[in-house]
């Protein structure tokens, strides 16, 4: 039972005792908030963490490479352990009152043992192949089970392994792994959509941004900023359109991650040096057309989705936010495609204004809807802009002092504004 429902039941009991509501009305109120059958996530998470740690222990146990243990015994141990873990999970799942956490945990242990088995076979036969491939195979094993069960924990394990795969390919072998973003797009995002899982969608999107940055950056670093900005804008627009789809809860992760990426890019472009990174993209390099084309297509699709669904219902804050992001996107694309890069002062000033505008929107929206996290995020952004400009614009101590005074006064004003909004909402006259 959720905490809110528990609170409501306690309150209703109190109201009945005080004679505010009768039993029938209390029942009708309760009926408006049906208890959603929830999984015991804490148990699942602890089982998964436990299984992961046990699996890591097994990997390190095999890593000792016992000379006395014959090859056949080592293989039997690795494969047998995998069979026992998965077999045990399936046996538990068949019971009527099967613990979902235990089943998840045993399957995660099985997949960890699958990874251990890959390394053990390589150890037994002294295989010195391209080792990042082991992470790819391991992640595919986890992904197969994520779809078959279906399991969010297996999907998260697959995402972690895909990130590791793309990371070691980039940092150890200087290789762009274009298969990693493709694997997330085709293998994990549809699963998140199918299971209507906002949490999996959030992590899949985060990993998608990361591995795309790895692959695209290694192909042509110049496309990184425009690509991430495009992807962030696409996620933001999709997030705005999501409430009108079959998966309204997708709006949260899409909007949050999209805004984070757009803000990150915008903040970076508010610096003179970073704005200089906006250069003409070389379309002859491998993957450039595909990456930018795919992100552009995603944005176009999201805009169509928004136009057909919820555009008219968007509140003022969302419209302003999307408008500012749109202006930023036009500047980025114009700098890269039309102006052949350079990113001069007009770009820097524009992005300073965009970041400040987005910060103001967060503060205003958070204050109106009494969401302190939004207000805090807006204030943080505001402070970051001030700190950034403190370092690269102002040399006079007097001006720097003024920056701090303005920053402090602004935060004081925001705090006051938020508290007035709160009192107004609570109907208390100051």
């Amino acid at each position: 039972m959720s905490k809110h429902l528990q609170w409501l039941k306690q309150e209703l009991a109190q109201w009945r005792a005080e004679g505010l509501v009768d039993a029938a009305l209390a029942q009708r109120i309760l009926a408006r908030y049906p208890a959603v059958a929830e999984r015991n996530w804490s148990r699942i998470i602890f089982s998964a963490i436990g299984a992961t740690l046990v699996g890591l222990g097994v990997i390190l146990f095999f890593a000792y490479n016992w000379q006395e243990l014959p090859k056949a015994a080592k293989l039997a141990l690795a494969i047998g352990a995998l069979v026992v873990a998965h077999g045990g999970a399936m046996a538990v799942a068949r019971r009527a009152n099967a613990s979902h956490g235990l089943v998840e945990g045993l399957h995660v242990l099985g997949t960890m043992l699958f990874g251990a088995g890959i390394w053990l076979v390589a150890q037994i036969y002294h295989i010195d192949e391209h080792y990042p491939n082991a992470f790819l195979v391991w992640s595919l094993g986890a992904l197969a089970l994520a779809w078959a069960m279906p399991s969010m924990v297996q999907a998260l394990l697959a995402l972690f392994l895909v990130t590791f795969w793309a990371g070691v390919e980039l940092f150890d072998f200087h290789t762009a792994v274009h298969g990693a973003p493709l694997l997330v797009v085709l293998g994990v995002l549809p699963l998140a959509w199918w299971r209507r899982s906002p949490a999996l969608l959030f992590f899949a999107l985060a990993v998608l941004y990361l591995v795309t940055a790895f692959a695209a950056g290694a192909s042509d670093a110049k496309m990184l900023l425009p690509l991430l900005f495009l992807m962030g804008a696409a996620a933001l627009v999709t997030g705005a359109a999501a409430p009108a789809t079959d998966f309204p809860a997708a709006g949260g992760p899409l909007s949050t991650l999209g805004l984070l990426v757009v803000l990150g890019c915008s903040y970076l472009l508010s610096f003179r040096d970073a704005a200089g990174l906006l250069r003409k993209v070389d379309f002859s390099k491998p993957g450039v057309v595909i990456y930018l084309g795919a992100a552009g297509a995603a944005l176009a699709l999201a805009l169509v989705l928004l136009a057909r669904g919820r555009l008219a219902q968007l509140d003022g804050y969302r419209r302003w936010q999307l408008g500012l992001v749109g202006v930023g996107l036009i500047i980025v694309l114009a700098s890269v495609f039309l102006l052949a890069g350079g990113g001069g002062w007009p770009v820097v000033l524009s992005f300073n204004a965009i970041v400040l505008g987005l910060a103001a929107l967060l503060i205003l929206e958070g204050s109106e809807h009494l969401r302190p996290k939004l207000v805090a995020a807006g204030c943080l952004l505001f402070a970051l802009v001030a700190i950034g400009r403190y370092a690269d614009l102002f040399t006079s101590l007097l001006v720097r002092a003024a920056v701090f005074v303005v920053l402090g006064a602004s935060l004081f004003f925001v705090g006051n504004f938020y508290s007035r909004s709160r009192r107004r909402a609570q109907g208390v006259k100051s």
Binding site: A93, G110, F114, I118, Y125
Partner: protein, 339 residues
């Protein structure tokens, strides 16, 4: 949860492991056994514990020993390109490279490998390719890697090559079966270094090239016979594998016809040493058609001293204790710096 799909997913995991193990086990049991000489180094792997990194002689492939398909690309090298290195016997079950090509040889034995990227070749990339065959790691129980490295020897001491036993499939796939130690060890000592040369200044007085002592040691537990002839004609000055330019010997003093090998039987632990003054005409090399000592060469030239059993020696010895083959020292520069 669909039970059938879960069973399929688990079966897929199992099949991957069985395929990996089965393929290698097949080569292990049915492949042709060859010994490849290597130098072991001891690092550690996060997931698989201690392993010994093996650097085989066949990992370095001279540009001169590759087929036209590779050589014609000039300095541009394609990463991870599949290549085949043919093997030929070099004595005592050992095999050495007999050329590398991009096309699969009609008959064996040969190893299937991939070219490494230029980043890993570093500054040595000019004159050779670096090829990996998937047998460059030997996994050992934790703590034993260091012992192997110590047995191999230190830079200043006696060095004993490791000879890795490899099963080679008809496809060129190789699987490590085990290893043994060479019966012969080698030590290189610098007895005299030439005076340092100053750029744009006349050459210094005295010899321009170093004087070395090369020691062969019987590191087995049985008597071992080596051979030498004339002016230490069993020893040869060879450029390193990555040298961009080859310098053939200028002196005919050790041509094959003139060698009358002297057989030297070494008891276990016994050594045979030869002092080689590379300033003497016996060691001069041909550069631009002129005979010069290596100290007079321009640029950073690196060489090794290679001991080769004289061709007539095994027949003359006619016994199992005779050591046959070739063994190279560490690389050194013309001014006497040992690698």
């Amino acid at each position: 949860m669909s039970r059938r799909w879960v069973i399929l997913a688990v079966a897929a995991q199992l099949l991957v492991l069985l395929w990996m193990a089965g393929e290698r086990e097949w080569v292990f049991r049915t492949g042709q056994v060859v010994y490849l000489r290597t130098a072991p180094i001891d690092p550690r792997d996060l997931f698989r514990g201690d392993f010994v990194r093996l650097q085989y002689e066949i990992n370095s492939v001279r540009r001169a020993d590759v087929d036209e398909a590779i050589a014609s690309r000039g300095t541009e090298r394609r990463r991870h390109e599949v290549v085949y290195t043919r093997l030929r016997p070099s004595g005592e079950g050992r095999y050495e490279a007999a050329g590398t090509s991009t096309t699969r040889p009609a008959d064996g034995p040969f190893l299937r490998g991939r070219t490494e990227d230029s980043w890993r070749m570093g500054w040595r990339g000019g004159g050779h390719f670096f090829v990996k065959y998937g047998i460059e790691q030997l996994f050992v129980e934790q703590g034993r890697g260091k012992a192997i490295e110590e047995r191999r020897g230190t830079r200043d001491g006696l060095q004993v090559p490791m000879e890795v036993e490899v099963a080679v499939a008809s496809s060129g796939t190789a699987v490590i079966r085990g290893y043994r130690w060479s019966r012969l060890g080698m030590k290189l000592e610098m007895l005299r270094r030439p005076a340092r040369r100053v750029r744009n200044a006349p050459p210094p007085e005295g010899p321009l090239s170093p004087k070395l002592r090369v020691t062969l040691a019987n590191v087995s537990d049985a008597p071992l016979t080596v051979a030498d002839a004339g002016e230490h004609c069993a020893f040869h000055l060879v450029p390193v594998a990555w040298a961009p330019q080859l310098y053939p010997p200028a002196s005919p003093a050790c041509s094959a016809g003139q060698m009358a090998p002297e057989m030297i039987t070494l008891a276990p632990g016994q050594i045979y040493s030869a002092e080689l003054d590379l300033s003497e005409p016996r060691w001069h090399v041909l550069a631009a058609g002129k005979a010069v000592e290596i100290g007079a060469l321009q640029g950073l030239a690196q060489f090794r001293i290679e001991y080769r059993t004289p061709e007539a020696a095994p027949a003359a010895a006619g016994e199992r204790s005779a050591w046959r083959g070739r063994m190279a020292s560490q690389a050194f520069t013309a001014n006497g710096v040992v690698d």
